[in-house]
């Protein structure tokens, strides 16, 4: 059996390892544009200089040897013929019996006037991006970041460490709008400003003002405000890498559509991770890798977890965890908060179920919330402080000594 994998990141690598563990004899070929294996989530540490490419490798050094995988690195898949079961890279063609697509996503550059035309425009998705940003910083001093989501703020923090003059701009009324509320965002905003950042929230970019050589000179906001810059970094979301898929050959809806076994609409082709365009986070790409491998060798395992509203962050020494609906959609939800000088906790609650949690400053032992929120577990039997709910309240032991969550009746 010839298995071919596209992608050498979270999804492709997790799949490859599991597949080899399940089937010692099959042929596995992995094709990736990436020439190295590295964790994209750590690219901002390359910009800041805290880590090298080698330091952000997230697998064993001898991975491909150890798991007996042929790696066609530095090759881009340009075309896929699902009828002939052949794919074409820029260098050669490769036949497969079964194909795993883990081609991930690329940074989306929004259609803002002069943005795509401008020089010195960067995004952060690949190691090449991180290295070219790092290079550019040798001469650039005033950097504008478009988008204050997790990637934008990762970049912001790495640039502040380099003592650059950084502006960050977002349409929302706060930084990290998907993860935080105003109160918890403020804690970070204050720290960023202290370190020299300029923050523009509720701000819409109208255009990039260019000089004669098409280098950016400034960002113009709606309403006319001008933010000077000599470099722009775009962090406004991602789009799935599906350029090699022939139109009409596979069901696409934003990303590749799959069922809960990770199967696409084409037999023997599976897709996982960011390329599905639904929940682009690392843990799900890793988990789907295992599920897809098990199903591809004949198993029947389902994705039971597509819960993507979960993030932890650790900026300037303040850790925060954000799970679920942290901003209540309407007044029927109860909002409980607790705060001190060093911490803030918020629970969004309704009819005995916790819908969202923000924990800032203190996050130790907080994991039970993820299960309670993901599975909408009723906690109304716990009459005391909802801020002190823990796994102990749902304690039960499995046969093999593992924990499980006791069903609440």
């Amino acid at each position: 059996m010839n298995y071919v994998i596209i992608g050498a990141s979270a999804s492709g690598m997790s799949f490859a390892k599991e597949l080899r563990n399940l089937d010692k004899n099959c042929n596995i070929t992995l094709i990736s544009r990436d020439e190295n294996v590295y964790s994209r989530c750590m690219l901002h540490h390359i910009i800041s200089g805290h880590r090298t490419l080698k330091d952000i490798n997230f697998v064993e050094d001898d991975f491909f040897n150890k798991y007996n995988i042929t790696w066609l690195k530095g090759q881009t898949v340009n075309d896929l013929d699902v009828n002939k079961k052949i794919l074409y890279t820029d260098k050669r063609s490769v036949k497969y019996d079964k194909l795993l697509i883990g081609s991930g996503a690329h940074a989306f550059i929004p259609p803002i006037k002069n943005l795509r035309e401008s020089k010195s425009i960067y995004a952060l998705r690949n190691i090449e991006d991180a290295l070219s940003i790092k290079d550019a910083l040798e001469t650039k001093e005033k950097i504008a970041i478009l988008g204050a989501g997790l990637v934008g703020v990762d970049v912001l923090v790495s640039l502040l460490e380099k003592n650059k003059k950084v502006s960050i701009i977002d349409m929302a009324d706060r930084v990290l709008p998907l993860q935080l509320d105003k109160r918890s965002a403020k804690v970070y905003e204050r720290k960023f400003i202290e370190k020299g950042a300029s923050i523009y929230t509720s701000a819409k970019v109208e255009e990039v003002i260019l000089d004669e050589t098409n280098d950016p000179k400034a960002i113009k906001l709606q309403g006319g405000q001008i933010i000077e810059c000599d470099m722009v970094i775009v962090a406004t979301g991602v789009k799935p890498n599906i350029g090699f898929i022939r139109e009409g050959s596979m069901e696409i809806n934003r990303g590749i559509v799959t069922n809960d076994k990770c199967e696409t609409s084409v037999e023997n082709i599976y897709a996982i991770g960011d390329v599905r365009g639904v929940s682009p986070i690392w843990p799900l790409a890793m988990k789907e890798g295992k599920i897809a491998a098990r199903n591809m060798v004949g198993g029947d395992e389902r994705i039971t977890d597509s819960f993507a509203l979960r993030n932890s962050m650790n900026f300037l020494g303040v850790p925060t965890v954000s799970i679920g609906q942290v901003n209540p959609p309407d007044e029927t939800y109860e909002v409980l908060t607790e705060e001190g000088s060093e911490y803030y906790k918020k629970i969004v609650y309704k009819d005995g179920v916790i819908y969202g949690v923000i924990l800032q400053g203190e996050i130790d032992y907080c994991g039970a919330y993820i299960e309670l929120i993901r599975n909408k577990i009723d906690v109304s039997h716990i009459k005391y402080d909802p801020f002190n709910i823990g796994y102990g309240d749902f304690f039960e032991i499995s046969e093999n000594g593992e924990y499980k969550f006791k069903a609440v009746v």
Binding site: A10, S39, C41, M42, H45, D55, I56, N57, F58, V59, W282, P283, M286, K287, K290, R310, N311, S312, M313, N314, G317, P319, V321, I323, I363, D364, Y365, C366, G367, A368, I370, E371, H381, I382, K383, Y384, G390, Y391, G392, D393, F395, I397, N400, G401, E402, Y403, F405
Partner: protein
Amino acid sequence: MKRIKIDKNKCMACYNCILACMMEHNEKGKDIYSLDLEDKSNECRNHIEVNHSKENIPIFCRHCDEPECVNTCMSGAMKKNPHTGYVEYDEEKCASCFMCVMSCKYGVLKIDEETKSKIVKCDMCENRETPRCVENCPTRAIYFEEV
């Protein structure tokens, strides 16, 4: 693999396991005389939770078959050792993102007090046959068994 099994009804919250863990991981010496309970660099890797029914619940890393902390770790610092079955943590690799703290749904993990950049996690007492907490438990609320 072997796992530390738990019988919560026998747990008296005597904290012998906590002290054992601290002694075993104390860089200044493994005996009780070298133990400084206020030394922030020497934290216990497990804890006892008191739940809403006032029961004592030993929260000890399960070294899960499908560990969510490993799944979620973006740096490769959390790894399941295929030979021993134990989930090992490499602080050199760790990116201090704290995804694992959020993702272990049993609430086992915490950030270290001293540097606020590392994860405090059970290592099954690397150099011992039986983890020291188990040896120190007077009631057999925790015991060590092949699973």
